[in-house]
Symmetry: C2
Subunit: 325 residues, 2 copies
Amino acid sequence: MTAAPTMATAVVAVGGNALTAADQDGTWAEIEANAAEMAGSLSALVRSGWQVAVVHGNGPQVGNLALQQDALAHSVPAQPLHQLCAMTQGQLGSVLVRAVDRECGPGTAACVVTHVGVDPQDPAFEHPTKPIGPFFSRERADELARERGWQVVEDSGRGYRRVVASPRPARIIEMGAVRTLLQAGHVVLAAGGGGVAVSVGPDGAMTGIDAVIDKDLAAAALATAVGASELYLLTGVDCVLLDFGTPDQRPAHRLTPEEAERHLAEGQFPPGSMGPKITAALRFLNDGGHRVIITSARMLAEAAAGRPGAGTCIEPAHVSVGSAS
Amino acid sequence: MTAAPTMATAVVAVGGNALTAADQDGTWAEIEANAAEMAGSLSALVRSGWQVAVVHGNGPQVGNLALQQDALAHSVPAQPLHQLCAMTQGQLGSVLVRAVDRECGPGTAACVVTHVGVDPQDPAFEHPTKPIGPFFSRERADELARERGWQVVEDSGRGYRRVVASPRPARIIEMGAVRTLLQAGHVVLAAGGGGVAVSVGPDGAMTGIDAVIDKDLAAAALATAVGASELYLLTGVDCVLLDFGTPDQRPAHRLTPEEAERHLAEGQFPPGSMGPKITAALRFLNDGGHRVIITSARMLAEAAAGRPGAGTCIEPAHVSVGSAS
């Protein structure tokens, strides 16, 4: 495949775990080193002529921040979750901007603190499922539920935790700014952590909502909003595996949306990991996107170039291999 | 004065105290209410046809964040100061974006996480003066000095505190992105807290530096970098006062740069408050800026419109009153 047309846009979603691995504590040195590695992969995409927007997750980092905020809550006001999400956008946006600029030159990357509108009537609010922040004793959890209106649940036998809703991203508030920066040639960090969740009132006023938007779904919404043709969902594995963990386990390097949807319906993809990625992919393709690649950071450049066997490519059957515009 | 030419740019610097007042704790409700009030003043400037960039301070907020980070340092890694600054850019950028958008429509404002290059040879690094974060006992302060390489000093009889340098802003890394967004009609939040301080190596790589850049000086540097014609430095008082606290105390509503420089040299302006504002004003005018207004948020619109007696206007003698382009 030759270089993609100069003006084609790709949105890349990277996990919060890519910046703080499961066996790491989340020190600055760890985050900086991980970001440098990630930027190596991203810059390959940039150099092949793509306009690139990057959506990072923030699970481990917002978890640490929530612990710290809670530790002093009696003397220093703890900020609401939507503000913690904004903080991690600054934190991780900064480290990724520096890492990308190291590869592509100072001033190339720009991080836009991004708000994402959600529907207050989203059914997700009826059944909050996303655990967030520290574990508490039953007593403290009850107290917090009363004081702050939190919903708390017993989590994995380790104590009680706050749970929040994970509503569907309905609207990228800063889509105009992101598009403008992409068109001006910037690598744009946006909708970090899935975006700061807000509801937008009839008068246009945004109200912060303590919810967690799935970053892959946010990336799909951003990709649609800015007219991206490709969406890259990076994960810990090189490609989608079918019949995972069975003797029939096999890689799926090419899928049509119909095949992906059928596998999803069959329960091939667990809700906490590959499931949301497939859902995000299908949503983007349904909304006019051309191609979705699910792969690891290390395989990104090869998968983008269409090397057979690199990553999983989901695209409609009638699109020719390697088509990018 | 009629509306300013559509394409003229103004940079407005607002203090961190404008978002968390001296008698407040820094709760979300306080910050949100203060931001709403500030946005009322900013939107008047926007509505009169200016392209507006806003630089906020972060003193109280980064202080709270440092306290929280330190509280759990034994179990959750404390992030370095340059990362805390990036976090407060996300935090306060988000609240200000929402407040401005409430006045001007969703998607109007955009916050760019901004890095500011400083010279590692800046003499400020030889004598760090800016206290930051919590007070410690002598023992703990010595320990932190050893462990983290901090410089600590006894502060105001209340204990020991870390001090960091306050170097001069030499380069706004994201100036291109900020200019692009201004030209596209966005109200841009940038260089919050004075910017994330970085040194830029010969290969273009940015290294975070634990320093605090004065937000008025950062605003002046940003204003020059984006070709702004006016710089607004908001403060707690409506205008500059001469012979402050003496029987001769009097407002100065109009000053030439020469007059301002003379008053500064005479020691009229204390180093911690009005001094840096006058220095920032002179630097901006020296670098080609047209006009600087020092006033309160509530007086902003009137001062911008050139109402006599509103704020302090510093401009060269040959520029006519109310000229904005």
